[in-house]
């Protein structure tokens, strides 16, 4: 009887261990509250206490015995050794060395970023709001760690946007996955977690003076002060939010050059052609390293500045883009774009839709003009065309010889390698009008515009931070046979071979 009882008691620690293990597994697997894990853990501890209560005599003997005396000696030694290990780790952390083995040095900060971080004089804190299921969280926190390692003023915190509702409300976060840069009362947001996104956001938040954007007036352009449907007051709010100062400029009033504080000039859908003198002022600014954004629209006439625009590799045609394949709710005059070429302007837009009501198409030269890099940002579908005879609504069909066949370019970015000038040309101006932004929710139109503006207004420091497109190493498409070969050779053949060898050796030894 007694022996049976002893057996039972000796069994208790194993039961406790299993319970504790289950508690850990439950804690590990569950996403919700951890009640189950706590109950299991409490049961495990209770069983252990039970064991202690039953076998207190044995435990007492151990405590009195020689083992403990030597044991406490050993314990001291163990503490000493662990202390040394802690010290070694502390030193290793202070003097870490990193080797980035990826082919394009994906995880190494550029010298420019490091310099910006070393020059920090005021604390900047980054709050990264992620859902626990977001796979970008790990990468983001590692990236932020690299930034924090370079400057004691740079700190960061990864916030669980699901559990920590208080912080989400406090910082007025509308969508998770955002990184909020905070310096004093200044804030900047970004959704990108690559170096260029982080460094440009950092530069924006430490900037003390706003960047100035001049909207050209005098030819019936879009007006950032107008609140009606065709106005640009909504996008102006976004510009204010991103620390831009928006001003207006009549080119006819200036004699020599554009104001010195201009960071970007915007020419948004002029209804009348610009005068020769105005064109000269605009392009001499651009050619001397200025930054210009031009928004066209269907039927607008840019022929007065055709030569100058062609020198920059992007000329808006006076046609109407028709896209029967990819259009917004079947309106063939509103192309819908959902895939983009990789560029600084479009990198965070993949999978996001943008729409362009009544756009034209943009003519790009066969090759980039000398010293300039011209990039088509996105195109319409293969079935689209540029309708030249668009005023005659009954005859909307592709006429070869007259109309350009798709895919047609809708937006172009150009950078001048020598003088650092930058130009962005959009084939549409309605895409960020008040009417569109208020009526159609959930498009990336405003983001696209702001990305383009930010790219134009980018600091010289940032221009030398090289973009790092996410490394992709696709495999060749696999046939069904190749798939089977891979699957069976690894999942079945290799383990089977091991088992056969094992069986053979075991047989030999028996």
């Amino acid at each position: 009887m007694n022996e049976q009882k002893n057996h039972l008691i000796n069994f208790l620690p194993s039961v406790a261990l299993v319970l504790l293990a289950l508690a850990l597994v439950a804690r590990w697997l569950s996403f919700g509250p951890d009640t189950l894990a706590y109950v299991l853990a409490a049961l495990g501890v209770a069983v252990l206490l039970l064991y202690a209560a039953f076998s207190w005599q044995t435990l007492l003997a151990v405590l009195r015995g020689r083992q403990l005396r030597y044991g406490s000696n050993a314990l001291l030694l163990v503490v000493a050794v662990l202390g040394i290990l802690v010290l070694v780790n502390y030193l290793a952390n202070r003097h870490n060395k990193t080797f980035d083995l990826t082919a394009n040095k994906q995880y190494t900060l550029s010298n420019e970023t490091v310099k910006i971080l070393h020059d920090l004089k005021e604390p900047v804190k980054v709050m990264a709001f992620f859902l626990p299921t977001d796979s970008r969280q790990q990468d983001a926190s590692q990236m932020l760690q690299r930034y924090a390692a370079e400057s004691k003023y740079f700190t960061y915190e990864v916030v669980d946007a699901e559990k920590d509702r208080a912080k989400v409300l406090q910082y007025k976060i509308t969508s998770p996955g955002v990184l909020l840069f905070i310096r004093g009362d200044r804030r900047q947001e970004t959704y990108g977690i690559d170096e260029q996104s982080l460094t440009s956001t950092l530069l924006k938040v430490i900037r003390n003076k706003p960047k100035t954007v001049y909207f050209i007036t005098g030819h019936g352009e879009r007006d950032p002060g107008q609140f009606h449907n065709s106005g640009y007051s909504s996008i102006k709010t976004a510009m204010d939010h991103d620390f831009f100062k928006v001003k207006k400029l009549d080119l006819a009033t200036i004699t020599t050059t554009v104001p010195a504080d201009a960071n970007v000039l915007v020419l948004a859908a002029p209804q009348k052609p610009l005068a020769k003198k105005e064109i000269k002022v605009l392009f001499s600014y651009l050619n001397k390293g200025g930054k210009v954004m031009i928004l066209s629209d269907n039927g607008l006439d840019f022929s007065a500045m055709r030569t100058q625009l062609q020198e920059w590799g992007a000329y808006p045609r006076a046609d109407l883009l028709i896209d029967p394949r990819s259009s917004f709710f079947g309106d063939i005059t509103t192309p819908l774009i959902s895939s983009y070429h990789y560029s600084e302007i479009t990198k965070d837009l993949n999978g996001v839709r943008t729409i362009f009501p009544g756009a034209c198409s943009i003519e790009m030269g066969k090759q980039s003009p000398k010293g300039k890099s011209v990039l088509s940002l996105f195109e319409s579908s293969n079935d689209s065309w540029g309708e030249t005879d668009w005023k005659n609504a009954t005859k909307v069909k592709f006429d070869s010889g007259k109309d350009m066949k798709g895919p047609l370019t809708l937006a172009v970015s150009v950078s001048d390698m020598t003088n650092k000038g930058r130009l962005v040309v959009f084939a549409d101006s309605d895409f960020v009008s008040n009417g569109l932004l208020s009526r159609v929710q959930g498009t990336g139109n405003a983001t696209l515009f702001m990305n383009a503006l930010n790219w134009l207004a980018e600091d010289e420091q940032l221009i030398s931070v090289p973009p790092k497109p996410p490394a992709s190493h696709p495999i060749n498409p696999l046939t069904a046979g190749q798939r089977s070969l891979i699957y069976y050779s690894t999942v079945v053949f290799l383990p089977l071979l091991l088992l056969i060898v094992g069986l053979y050796i075991w047989w030999q030894h028996r």
Binding site: P13, S14, L17, V18, A21, L24, V25, R27, W28, G65, R66, Q67, Y70, G71, A74, L77, V78, V81, L82, L85, V88, N89, A92, N93, N96, K97, T98, F99, D100, L101, T102, A103, Q106, Y107, Q138, D139, Q142, K163, H473, P474, I475, N476, P477, L478, R483, I486, Y487, S489, T490, V491, V492, L494, P495, L496, L498, L499, G502, L503, W506, H509
Partner: protein, 236 residues
């Protein structure tokens, strides 16, 4: 040092003649291969990053099983007395045992080289992250095995050693998760202790010397404690 090798060789020999080891390794390879194929067919990327993460998770469970017998069995059968009274240092016994399981782990990793080979045939992988990933697997596997050796020293029962080992490895793995509930220095200490906080950069393609130091420290610490435990048990 020579004794350590002798013990490692003897222990390795008993791994290779035991059918259990073959079954465990074959099951491990089958499971890993399954992950490899599914990830490859789904992602169509010539990368092993996600496979390495999965293999590490599997090792949380398998490493204690591979190590459970090492010291527990000797204590149960009483042969540890023979070992410890022979002119061999205690640490040589413990390190030798660990070394045997570590060499078995390297052998498993050699078997997994078939995956990069397949990637090479059907695509052009970036070799940097694969190399750093294998370095990460080598050190994290050695660490998990050292924890297994430690729990094996604590008991005579192999099953208890394995269960305790899994509790330790998983506990050590997720301890950083507690940092979301806490804040301040304790959170960062827990975070630093966590085995999982140091492995991901290896799989991305980055080798941080501090991470290697961390894993070597845990190996050294676990085996040091195991040595002391073996010593204490000897005085009974």
């Amino acid at each position: 040092m020579r004794n350590m090798w002798i013990i490692a060789r003897r222990e390795l020999g008993s791994y290779f003649i035991s059918p259990i080891a073959y079954i465990v390794v074959a099951a491990l390879i089958a499971l890993t291969s399954n992950f490899f194929s599914l990830i490859l067919f789904f992602s169509r990327e010539a990368t092993l990053r996600y496979l390495f993460s999965n293999l590490t998770t599997i090792m949380l469970f398998v490493a204690p099983i591979l190590a459970m017998r090492l010291l527990a069995e000797e204590q149960r059968s009483g042969t540890i007395e023979l070992l410890l009274t022979s002119p061999v240092n205690d640490w040589e016994v413990v390190w030798g045992k660990w070394l045997a399981s570590f060499i078995l782990w390297l052998f498993i990793l050699v078997l997994t080289l078939i995956y990069p080979f397949i990637l090479k045939v059907y695509g052009s992988p970036d070799w940097g992250p694969i190399i750093s990933g294998y370095i990460g697997l080598i050190v994290v596997g050695g660490t998990l095995l050292a924890i297994g050796v430690l729990t094996s020293s604590l008991t005579q029962n192999q099953i208890v050693a394995a269960v305790l080992g899994v509790v330790f490895t998983i506990g050590f793995w997720i301890v950083g998760g507690g940092s979301s509930l806490l804040s301040g220095p304790l959170a960062s200490v827990l975070n630093y202790l966590s085995l999982s906080q140091h492995i991901n950069s290896f799989y991305q393609g980055v080798i941080d010397v501090k991470n290697i130091i961390y894993y070597l420290s845990v190996i050294f610490g676990a085996l040091y404690i195991a040595t002391r435990v073996v010593e204490i048990r000897r005085w009974r």
